[in-house]
Amino acid sequence: MKNLIQDTIRKIETQHITPKPRWKYLLKKYGLWMLFAIVLILGAVSFSMALDNSNNLDWDLYHFMHQDRLMYFLSIIPYFWIMLIATFLIIAFFEIRKTETGYRYSWSRILLITVGGIAIFGIFISLFGLGGRLNSKLTEEVPFYGQHMIVTKESQWMQPTKGFLAGIIVSVSEKKLEIKDLNGEKWNISIDEETLVKPSVNISPEEMIKIIGVKTSENNFKSEEIRPWTGRGMGNDQNGGTMNGNGYRGGMMQGN
């Protein structure tokens, strides 16, 4: 065994073997953490996109579609982003495990770090509206994205045969609205005493609204509920207002 030591030292000296430079090791070490950070950022961006997409959707329409709540949720959740987040989570998990001391963390701890990191950072960038901006950009630039990869607010509210319609108010009269839908087509919307107009809806020209009701004939729609384009229109008055013979009671209505 004594020879082994002398032989090894001789080999090191004669073959000029030297310790590899530390910078190479540090490059690899920090490179792995950098990669982890990039994956985490991509996960967070996906999270903020999913959050923005979910925030824009109306989650209570199952009432009107006579559908099971769970089935409805499953039909509109942003699978594309959820799958992407899951992919980034898995990559991030293995990235941590590949680091020098990553094996010391239990899977539950790593999961907590990655899920927490993606969620917190995702919410943080959502506060700056990044998810919304990216979603809009993507929907504009890649039509396939908005048409097939996610359920958008637009696709949710452009189903007149199913009772959902959205558009910009063109004109307002006592019991009728004229709107231009998201495809630019004009619709006559009838309003009666039973129509529920949500508190924060501003029924005046140029305002964008969402309508729940029934398509009665070509380009004619009987409204049952009117909501503002953004949100469900819940103000302090949770029940909203209704129309009566003298006009709208509950929200704002300005004829032209």
């Binding site: 082994l4 090894t8 080999k11 090191i12 073997i17 310790p19 590899k20 001391t101 010391r104 239990s106």
Partner: protein
């Protein structure tokens, strides 16, 4: 050189980077434990183990700048040895099939795994149990060797194998369970 023998591993690492002779002291310190570790997880003859050990020491020397003090030097050196052995068997396209363990080493694994009284174990029984242990996969045998022959703590095994503590504990538990199962299958009843 003699006064360096009292130096800590970390101090010797610093000196070794400038002078390979100082690395000789580190090698002297770890050649025995690493030699036996490699012997226990392979079935190679001593000459081959020495060749492997020399390659392991050269790798350690080349990686001296990578050593991080969060690990014990011994764990780090064992890890390099473990990886080198795995690479070696991958290269020669073979796998270690039996452990070349001394009798006392077998005894340690057997006692730790199946809790039997020393005085009721006969030689024939020990031989049968050895066969069962040999039939375990390398993953299980290696953790059993590290835990019960090398007497390593879970944390050290974790650092050597770069596996989470839970995985190490699971491997040890499953290794023991598999051993008991194999003994039952082969109707080995020594108790």
């Amino acid at each position: 050189m003699d006064e360096q023998k009292a130096y800590s591993d970390v101090e010797l690492i610093v000196l070794s980077k400038k002078n390979p002779e100082s690395f000789g002291i580190l090698m002297e310190r770890y050649q025995g434990p690493l030699f036996h570790y490699i012997r226990r997880i392979t079935q190679l003859p001593n000459e081959d183990i020495e060749d492997l050990l020399q390659e392991v020491f050269i790798k350690i020397y080349q990686k001296l700048n990578e050593y991080d003090e969060v690990l014990k030097f011994s764990s780090w050196a064992y890890r390099i040895a473990h990886n080198h052995v795995v690479d070696y068997f991958r290269k020669v396209n073979a796998r270690p099939q039996t452990n070349t363990l001394e009798d006392y080493e077998w005894e340690k694994i057997i006692h730790a795994s199946i809790h039997i009284e020393k005085n009721i174990m006969d030689k024939d029984c020990v031989e049968k149990i050895k066969t069962c242990i040999q039939s375990l996969s390398i993953n299980y045998r290696e953790v059993l060797v590290l835990r019960f022959v090398e007497d390593k703590e879970y944390e050290e095994i974790m650092d050597i194998l770069k596996k989470p503590k839970g995985t190490v504990a699971t491997l040890i538990k499953r290794g023991k369970n598999l051993l008991v199962k194999k003994m039952k299958e082969q109707n080995i009843n020594c108790f």
